[in-house]
Symmetry: C2
Subunit: 416 residues, 2 copies
């Protein structure tokens, strides 16, 4: 099997589809999404049957209970996928919107308008509902997608992609607007990363996937969701806020990238705050790992150098005591991933300094880091949280899946 | 000499400078630019002396006359560099500007504000005045720069960078805000591309440089200035416009990336238009290369397959006859570089179809492609023309050298 030939054919098919998709009206795209939702519902039993096959395989392969839970689809989740697609249909279409415009001194009418990115490769892990979410969102912004899901979900992804594709074609969207790369084997994933027909690759997964993207990608990529997030408790922190914010940021959804991983306490407030915060976290089942000084104030495991750079994505937190705002800022600059950082303080100048100095997608004063999210930030449904500075930073909505072009209408102008 | 150690030290120095620069006020940055302009003027003789050394070397090495002309600096050009820097000082500072903002239902005040990209690596060829332009523009948007100029201009670049750096430091900007990588040897250029301390690399040069960036870069890059631009003359093209636009797009500045390289004529208007356009172009010294049908209408060299993908950057043009708008669109999609494309037509539907269908940074109706420019498009001084879709597309002004961050001001909010 010629891997690169297969990928090139997929890429060219996607590129032809992208050309037509860029010209598709909002009406047709919304009709496609309604058809996609209806067809998902109509094929619920078929999808569950295919999913059972994946789940049985996963059990035989000894995958963890958590992994199997993420993999398993039931009627409720398929209804959720359908509802999700309908909600995307209700969002405003970003394509064709005028971003800016003016008449040049020569009389040229120059407008900058939103256009799709083109062909997007999305590589994701495990959860098969991502297949439906991604297809709907990326199609909304006029892009053709090549989806690469996890090998353990291949049967579920295959039937979902088939149902969605047939629905899209039935209303007249071009063949190739949604394609699933469903051949298992790492060489296919690598070949997708090397595919020059793509306009951008968006990886949604762990550090291994990201390292592979950095190594193999020949087109631009957008890194999302690395979150070693911090909360710094300043000397003037309102004690009433500290426990609720720490507990919320760590425990409300520990697997989220905007959950906190490290708590920094100023040495002045540490003796009072650490016992209160740590007691509450322990009551929520959180494992604590502290530096030397923190261990003196509360009974916990000693943290190692590795802890400061680790995104636990679990009920584990590291705790460090610092002697100044500068030390906190330096720690965040060294170990943070530029995602979400928060300061708890009553000091105005300190709050402003933190907002100015921290180089991250979202910088907070007196709030949980858990708010970094497309919905909260006013961008609508979210396709990921970018931790890079180019193109999009922070939550990415459908507008962040677009580019622009300049349209210039003249009447014979030449440049002097 | 440990190449990667030298680069890492430069990178870390730039990163520290970027941290301070991000917090520098507009006042200080403008003061720095005024000092830079003044110091350039004050060191005119020194700069000319260093430049003479480069020019003599280049002559001994047998560089082309055109190359030597690009390399040579005189008093007028140094005054031009100083004036350019002063003009940049007069532009509004993009940093800190609020892009959007709202109050969330939970009462969080969320604002998205412009911040610098951080540390930018700029690799450019030959012309030493780029050193001054780049330093001024990148500093305006709060970025630290590592500059890598051509080896043939190293003495000129060294003195210019020294003068600019001293001026910047004299008003209190951080050491490391402008650094020149002035050690000759390709291994240094490669090491700069591999430097992980950079936030972005912007190459400004030919295809060889761009291929090297694609191969070596470990950080995001912005490709600029590939311009295989087309003009399509439709059957209804206004004959009065055709000659002036073709001559302007090809001859006004053939070395510019927005100059036209291929003229496409519909077969219906070709018999009348080709003799007129070709006669005018020949009178301006343009070498013509046509497909078979074009050669039948006017005496010119036959074009080869290679011609259609070539950016001549010179007084050469390729000419092809097509039988439909679709064929013109397909040719542009196949050979174009997504830069600037124009249609000459009196047909409304055809004009709209061209504007919609062509996938390029700038799409024109009835105008010369030469207008694609930061100034004309309302973006101010330009640092290049992006031909990619991510981050910035088309002319890049200082705003395109920035990113954003979200500032979130709360009063104890936690996520429900």
């Amino acid at each position: 099997m010629d891997v690169s030939l297969i990928l090139t054919e997929m890429g060219q098919k996607a590129r032809r589809a992208a050309y037509d998709l860029a010209l598709a009206s909002s009406d047709i795209k919304n009709k496609a999404r309604r058809a996609m939702a209806a067809e998902l519902r109509a094929h619920t039993n078929e999808i569950i049957e295919a999913n059972r096959f994946d789940v049985t395989e996963a059990e035989n392969d000894g995958l963890s209970k958590a992994m199997i839970q993420r993999l398993t689809l039931d009627e409720k989740q398929i209804e959720g996928m359908a509802k999700g697609i309908e909600e995307v249909a209700a969002l405003p279409d970003p394509i064709g919107r005028t971003v800016s415009g003016h008449i040049s001194p020569e009389g040229l009418e120059i407008t900058q308008v939103r256009v799709p990115l083109g062909v997007i490769g999305v590589i994701y892990e495990s959860r098969p509902n991502v297949t439906a979410d991604t297809a709907a969102l990326y199609l909304k912004s006029g892009n053709a997608v090549i989806l690469r899901g996890g090998s353990e979900a291949v049967n579920s992804n295959r039937i979902i992609a088939k149902v969605l594709t047939e629905a899209a074609l039935s209303v007249g969207l071009p063949d190739g607007c949604i394609q699933l790369l469903d051949l298992n084997g790492r060489e296919f994933t690598t070949a997708l990363m090397e595919l020059e027909e793509l306009d951008v690759i968006i990886p949604r997964g762990g550090l291994g996937l990201k390292a592979a993207v950095r190594e193999h990608c020949k087109v631009p990529y957008i890194m999302t969701g690395d979150g070693v997030c911090h909360i710094y408790f300043a000397p003037s922190a309102d004690p009433e806020m500290c426990v609720p914010i720490a507990v919320n940021a760590k425990c409300q959804k520990p697997s989220a990238c905007n959950a906190v991983e490290t708590l920094l306490f100023h040495e002045k407030c540490a003796p009072k705050l650490i016992p209160a915060v740590c007691t509450a976290l322990e009551a929520h089942g959180v494992e604590l790992r502290g530096d030397k000084k923190a261990c003196e104030l509360f009974d916990m495991m000693p943290a190692t150098e590795e802890d400061w750079g680790t995104e636990y994505l679990d009920l584990v937190v590291s705790i460090k005591i610092v002697s100044s705002l500068n030390e906190a800022l330096a720690h965040i600059a060294k170990y943070g991933t530029h995602h979400s950082e928060s300061i708890i303080t009553r000091d105005y100048a300190e709050a402003e300094r933190f907002l100015d100095s921290v180089d991250a997608a979202a910088v907070y004063v007196n709030a949980s880091t858990r708010f970094t999210d497309g919905g909260v930030f006013g961008l609508g449904a979210e396709v990921g949280i970018s931790t890079q500075k180019l193109h999009a930073r922070g939550p990415m909505g459908i507008e962040q899946l677009t580019s622009t072009k300049f349209r210039v209408r003249g009447s014979g102008q030449v440049r002097r």
